[in-house]
Symmetry: D2
């Protein structure tokens, strides 16, 4: 950490900074420069509270040289984390995993039909919301536990693994009971009580980036999970807030590269929520794979115009099948391949 | 709601939209125009799920004519909501309420000293975090229930009312037991499980705007509270995410005016979190009052350079006293006045 | 255009809106609804100044049903614009065009060497700045006319076409004299005097999206060029301003899809300026091609660590050659191909 | 400048950075730390091109300790710049200057009537566009030179000073001939050819912040003016791009404080363009004064609903008169006063 002094800071100001740093248990190293002095803080273990220093007289700004997160960092662990899932599937290795399914679980017929369709096209994990975070209290809030049971039934019938969202600490335990992966949604990325519980749940966690979260904040939220003992964390870029209403959000495809540089954790992309319109989902799914995503998560519905939520962004089954073909070629261009569903003829 | 068709939409496309609207139980009213047709949906009760229509062939976009929220709207209730607090204090009327105190409750000495200092300068409500949402799992997370008890003690000694944050459903019950106002923090603005519990808590709620929340989303989150039966809601602008790192966030002072136009709920401003630097807090607190805020919430610490969190944005007690003098004059310019603390000589 | 009235608008308010619309020479069509009345303006030719109506008493908001641009719209012209360039090259058809070269023209040796290297790898157009827009007045501002002459020399020696930026109306004439494509930079996207001159310049124009420009604003700026008679316009996504400093800008890859939906004009992507770091340029170039870009523009320098500007984002020649191989495979996945340089054995 | 190395950078990587810094003519000072080494660049005169170093192997990031601007900095000149205008008026001292007038000059009757009305209410400078930057080529583009002559006539009749916008280098000379202050609009903040000409024009310049410009970029654009010899520069906050469509832009009122900290130049606020709606202009004008703005610029029109541009944000004359009363009281609260028009009884 570097404490930059104002150009007219007095020797007393500088001395006070040095002393405060030492009181906090670190070493201070003043560096006089042409225009101003900076004071280095050496020995930062990631627990320094900068605000105590930032407000001292003569301090211009605090500059961080090390990142505030630890265990999620690629500097902490060089090799990629490969999250192992049941049936030999994994996320974060050479294979690209495709997660597909409806926004919400609506009925047994709907979820079973979707599961069969997406498996046939090559998806290996089924998504579907049982507990739905909705901006309005008057929107459909999901089937709850009944939805979880229907997902489990779909897994039984198709061999697809299951991912679904938990919205509160108690929900984590329920979801962990039924699903293979617990999803933490974008709106809850900094719901720290939820993160702490998910860190203890004993199942892999899919952590979505918040709409206004920096990559550093996303990694710090993941750090909550690792700090609580859960190392099976998959990150997800799903669009950030922007100034243009042409698409629902801005799909920050470069976040995939940035995460891969800074962290060993896998990252997938959700082009459905990122764009909000079916005709944009397909090119953005391709872009995500080309950019190096470890997987994609796509909304597919057997009859999108009858969906109870997010119909406009759900692919028709035939569109999804076409997309699968395209991304298989793109994966080759970067020496990867799309994972086959568990138990398929193609799976080794 | 207006469904705008593409200019080359076929009569079948238009008919399908009409039929879907009617299936959903509303009336459809096609309006042919020079370049394209639009179809009005009449009878929207705020529960229409647009996504079912947005993805139909030939549909260009959906335009909302009515807002998705109801009870928080000024169209639902014309006169201002005035939240009544113990001791005759209220928020949302002519008087401007000043909330002050440290970021975190750190010790009995610290919270009692701060309480005395801010009451002396004219604050009427004490703030102080007992449960702290921190980006990093390694930062100080607050004193918890012990912090709540210290706040209650400070109320007993000074007559100041108490506001403090709840971070999860169980926390709501605890905070409701000790505090006069339950705070929902910016990161939890769309933690719907938390909102539902706070809607049943029987105490007024201070709901902070999320970093990337639109005003519509803020009002929809407030709608969760009203829909659950709690009408004593105070909104709070505390800065939104921006592209310039000159200040921590962008203080969206115009949000105060926008909320006053769209809703009957009171709105206060938190210039401390909005700017993150003490020297900016003072002019922004003045700006908030000049813009029409129903109150301000300011961090004050007896010794900011020893604070365990957010020291850089905490005012010195003498700065706070000076600020109080300035806002009293500004309040006059718009025919309002700063509320006096309960039991003060000035209070009638 | 739809004028939405407040729910408590009086019949007089509505009548005043109707009358104002009629005074402006359009038809007014009032539409009473459940909660409020809306007034349709029929016959909008794109020249309506909404602000005259927006401020009338009782008006809640103005909603645009038609876009404010005309000639750039896909509704105006359904088939894709294919910009024809010398030597049989074109942008906007099936082929994907690769533009490469240094940020700035620095010397004869540098530009000739780069030209040879990028042509060898398969680029068909050479980029290089002669007039440089720099945030600081103290930064290198380009070689000016001397730079234009060196670019022309590189074209002569390699057969590559030339694109370079013009910064002011006089500069347009100079650039048009030497280059095959005139570039308008992001900072000048709304420099309307510049756009008007470029619209008369008789050479194709590459118009870059401004850092905070919506797609609508980008298309309106393009409309300036078409309105002045120049239909050979190529758009370029080069990153928008965001809140995270992990990358220089946010690469808005979905803008490629959005432009293709709304307009018949071709759009390319510049991942170098979008990300600012070499290791991000490669995956983002791949993502752009996968998303459907009609071309990419990439900075390449023979010795990036000696570049006078933007060295950090310039690819090493061997990285560029590798990238060319990858995008050739990705192009296949979507039934396109990368254009070959003029005069190459591969070109038909 | 601080070059932060990756934690696994080799001694050769570090040596290469040191050598490159020395080749560039500066001193390099390696600083080994707990997790990584940083290399300080000493002697930075603001002309270092960081990108040459940023791309070297082993470099993680570049951190700036000094600002890239010089003459506009408060470190370069401690005391406030007070821009002297004809008739004894000035901007940047104790007095707060009010600029008012229509968006566009439309006719002699309109501009003369507006001038009289705003002077009567207490404005001292008249605004009005003669050359109008419009997003659409089909919108009213201003009266041009005829508009400049009408502004000059209004000055003659009322004693108000005149500010109006120049859009291109030739326009600067024309505007300088007629106006007292040359305005550079937000869209042209980084039109460097325009800035260079304005720097030579011999008249004060009002430089508006671009929609997506950081404060640093605003100051760098001002630096272009000072570097060209023009020290009479007034900055203007007029709203930045945001994600919420509730107001046209986000009024970044804190920018006023930030500029006052970093620079000696005066800064005013334009709440009309920042919000786009008349009912928001009034509270935002008050907020700007309370925040410490050196002036405000407000759109006033004698008949806003007949304005050719921006009618919705123009105040009615009686609203403006009421606003003047309010800001006079607010100015007092911070020991300032509103400047009186030249020649008024009140002016000393």
């Amino acid at each position: 950490m570097l404490v930059v002094m104002q150009h007219n800071a007095t020797p007393e100001d500088i001395q006070r900074v040095v002393q405060t740093i030492e009181e906090m248990g670190y070493q201070a190293r003043p560096m006089p420069g042409a225009q101003r002095t900076a004071v280095g803080l050496v020995g930062n273990d990631g627990r320094v509270d900068e605000s105590r220093i930032a407000g001292l007289p003569g301090v211009k700004e605090i500059i961080h040289v090390t990142q505030p997160y630890k265990q999620v960092s690629r500097e902490w662990k060089t090799e990629n984390t490969v999250v192992q899932l049941p049936g030999g599937l994994s996320i974060g290795g050479t294979e690209i995993v495709v997660i597909a399914g409806p926004c919400s679980v609506e009925s047994e017929a709907q979820i079973l039909e979707t599961a069969r369709l997406v498996r046939q096209a090559g998806a290996s994990i089924l998504r579907g919301g049982a507990f739905k975070p909705r901006s309005s209290p008057y929107s459909f809030q999901g089937l709850g536990v009944k939805g979880l049971k229907l997902l489990a039934k779909a897994r039984e019938e198709t061999g697809l693994l299951i991912v679904t969202e938990a919205m509160d600490p108690e929900g984590v335990d329920l979801v962990a009971e039924y699903a293979d992966i617990i999803q933490i949604g974008a709106r809850n990325m900094q719901n720290f009580s939820l993160l702490k519980r998910a860190g203890k749940a004993g199942k892999p966690v899919l952590l979505k980036r918040g709409l206004a979260a920096t990559i550093t904040e996303l990694l710090l939220s993941a750090e909550y999970l690792l700090a609580a003992g859960n190392h099976d964390v998959i990150l997800c870029e799903r669009g950030i807030r922007g100034f243009d209403s042409s698409t629902r959000n801005v799909f920050d495809v470069a976040a995939i590269s940035v995460v891969h540089e800074l962290s060993h954790l896998p990252i997938i992309a959700d082009p459905s929520h990122a764009t909000g319109r079916r005709d944009k989902v397909i090119p953005m799914a391709r872009a995500a794979v080309a950019a190096g995503a470890d997987g994609i998560m796509v909304e597919v519905h057997p009859a999108p115009d009858r969906a109870l939520s997010d119909g406009a962004q759900s692919l028709y089954p035939e569109q999804f099948a076409e997309l699968m073909k395209e991304i298989r070629v793109i994966a080759e261009a970067i020496h990867r391949r799309v994972a086959d569903p568990i138990g398929s003829a193609a799976q080794v």
